[in-house]
């Protein structure tokens, strides 16, 4: 293992911010793994730490294949993490909206640019990411469909789900998107948590990366923990919204299989305790995402469900036409 400072920025009174990379193996730049880009991504940071610990052992055991190198960057935003801010301490910009960056530009453009020039030539890029809506996910690999994406590569993680999505205008400045534009095959991995730690899904994230490394011939080690991934389109996830604002009282958990009509949550009137709305599953499916904020706003997405019958219904509909 080689620990290197990839990028360093001086602050006025605070310590310098260092972006540190841990390199394993040597030769061909095979895989780059990035952890937190935002200050609240504690689970992403922790998962990288566990990965570094595991890769150290794998390297020591001589299980990294010849002419393959892996780099893990646990955080590119320690300045925000240390003061519990989600975005950049001074101007509140999001480093993950600044790629490919610009080394003569604004502060976070420089950080993005400085890091990106060190990591834009890997064959594969993996980011432990967080969603813009606060909540818990079933662990999955998410990929933006561009001409550079190959779904077969995503299967190598052996995660239960692969979510495909079409990039939107605001995606064009993310790390994932720019990796793809520069020819790196990029994936985002989501585990259960962001601000809080979830040991089990952090390990799921570590195993997913190890599965990927082993399936891609980068390490000679197998975890025997893979799934045959189901591929879903982000648009096919069924969004369950609350019609009213109030207190969110969930009656299920992420990963639950739910049946048609099952009561998934109640929205409670904060002053009078009465039930304002009942949220029921419209179809048989799995709870793929669940909001984890206690106060909810009207139209807020509480759940994203996989719909077990989508394909059947699509076929039925096209027959009718």
């Amino acid at each position: 293992m080689k620990k290197t400072v990839l990028y360093e920025m001086k602050n006025l009174y605070r310590d310098n911010m260092r972006v540190t990379g841990y390199e394993f193996g040597c030769g061909e730049k095979s895989v780059c793994v990035v952890g937190s880009t935002r200050g609240n991504e504690i689970q992403q940071l922790y998962t990288c730490g566990l990965l570094v610990k595991t890769l150290k052992r794998i390297e020591k055991a001589g299980l990294i294949n010849e002419n393959k190198s892996i780099i893990v960057i646990p955080s590119i935003n320690s300045s925000s993490m240390n003061i519990e801010k989600r975005f950049w301490p001074t101007d509140n910009t999001d480093i993950n909206r600044m790629f490919p960056g610009y080394n003569l530009g604004e502060t976070t453009q420089r950080i993005a640019g400085g890091v990106f020039e060190k990591i834009n030539d890997y064959e594969y890029g993996i980011q432990f990411a967080s969603f813009f809506m606060p909540g818990k996910f079933l662990p999955h690999v998410r990929m933006m469909m561009t001409e550079n994406t190959d779904i077969e590569d995503a299967k190598k993680f052996g995660l239960q789900y692969i979510v495909k999505r079409t990039p939107r205008p605001f995606d064009t400045t993310t790390l994932n998107y720019n990796w793809q534009m520069w020819g790196t095959k990029a994936f985002s991995i989501y585990t259960h948590e962001t601000e809080n730690l979830d040991e089990s899904s952090a390990m799921t994230g570590v195993y997913a990366v190890l599965n990927f490394l082993s399936q891609s011939g980068i390490i000679n080690y197998s975890t025997h923990r893979g799934y045959n991934s189901s591929i879903i389109d982000a648009d096919e996830l069924y969004d369950l919204q609350t019609p009213v604002a109030g207190i969110f009282h969930p009656l299920c958990s992420v990963g639950d299989s739910v049946s048609k009509g099952q009561l998934l949550s109640k929205i409670i009137d904060p002053y009078e305790g009465k039930v304002l709305a009942e949220i029921k599953a419209p179809e048989y499916g799995n709870v793929f995402f669940m909001n984890n904020k206690q106060l909810v706003y009207a139209n807020q997405i509480l759940f994203k469900l996989t719909d077990d019958y989508t394909i059947i219904r699509k076929a039925e509909n096209s027959e009718q036409q």
């Binding site: 920025m9 006025l12 909206r97 205008p169 139209n299």
Partner: protein, 314 residues
């Protein structure tokens, strides 16, 4: 007051986006409409004075009004009332969610209602105030894809500067882009500085709005004469950006909106701990300083100034 959109918040509060509609005497309801909007960013307050002053001047001479004026002083009421730039609780930049959607989350829904309400105006003016870091001369920024239609309108607005910039994909989610896209001409004004009101800029813009209304046949009252703006096209004039080469405290050595010669002293970035000058900043070109840093503390990379490279003086 008219409710543009409203939603209930979780604990006994209704969030309402309000507008004031001023109609001419004996209105047929078929007159041209101008929409003045501001407060997308809760820390930008220059537009507050403009809304107040425009309201006041029009109502005082209501007989001169020949069109409908809609004034939206707070597109992000939660942000303004809590000194938050984005939408509080959602950590979202409201100017990155347009055109929104009817069934989307709260912010998307509000964005959708705002676009639906403004759509169809003969002109929309979206007033921004830079941010807390930078002081801007009153200017209108135009995406080059809409320059044919918007530059002539911008010239009537009494701003000092019109900046026609290149298209950028991320800007496709702004209010102005969404409105221009559905055929409602929308001008984006940037002026002054965040969290403050620069009254003379506000008066200048109110003069410009009334002048534009007069040109459009919506106002018959007296108007003050307007200035000819400097118009800069990215392909013709170079806008030079000066970014801090080091973290420190910025002490300006020049005023804002002045002519600079190449090499003129713009300011210093200093270290109060040691008394050292960390970066002595000189102008990279001759031109006009139209953006100047207002907030002293800077990081490496913080924007210090923008200079429009140009031989002609103001």
């Amino acid at each position: 007051m008219i409710k543009v959109a409203s939603v209930n918040l979780p604990v006994d509060e209704e969030l309402t986006i309000k507008k004031e509609r001023i109609v001419p005497i004996n209105s047929t309801g078929k007159e041209k409409r101008i929409s003045i909007v501001t407060g997308t960013h809760g820390d930008e307050l220059e537009g507050q004075y403009v809304c107040y002053e425009l309201n006041r001047r029009i109502k005082k001479n209501i007989e001169c009004l020949k069109g409908i004026v809609d004034i939206y002083p707070a597109l992000n009421p939660l942000g303004i009332d809590s000194i938050t730039r984005g939408i509080p609780a959602f950590d979202l930049d409201m100017n990155r969610i347009f055109p929104g959607s009817e069934n989307g989350i709260m912010a998307d829904y509000l964005a959708h209602k705002i676009v639906e309400d403004i759509k169809g105006s003969a002109l929309c003016v979206d007033i921004h105030a830079s941010n807390i870091f930078l002081m801007e001369i009153p200017q209108i920024r135009i995406n080059e894809i809409t320059k044919e239609e918007l530059v002539p309108l911008a010239k009537m607005m009494n701003v000092d500067f019109v900046w026609v910039h290149c298209a950028a994909t991320v800007l496709e989610s702004t209010l102005a882009y969404s409105l221009n896209d559905v055929g409602t001409p929308t001008l984006v004004v940037e002026m002054g500085v965040g969290m403050r009101i620069t009254k003379n800029y506000g008066d200048q813009l109110v003069d410009g709005i009334l002048n534009t209304m007069k040109e459009m046949g919506m106002w018959t009252g007296e108007v003050n004469s307007v200035r000819e703006p400097i118009i800069s096209y990215d392909e013709d004039f170079e806008v030079n950006f000066i970014n801090a080469s080091s973290a420190g405290v910025f002490i300006p050595a020049t005023k804002h909106w002045v002519n600079l010669n190449k090499g003129d002293h713009v300011g210093d970035i200093v270290d109060p701990l040691t008394g050292e000058v960390l970066d002595e900043i000189h102008s990279p070109c001759s031109g006009i300083l139209f953006t100047l840093r207002e907030y002293p503390v800077c990081d490496e990379g913080s924007l210090i100034a923008r200079i429009l490279e140009r031989d002609e003086k103001i």
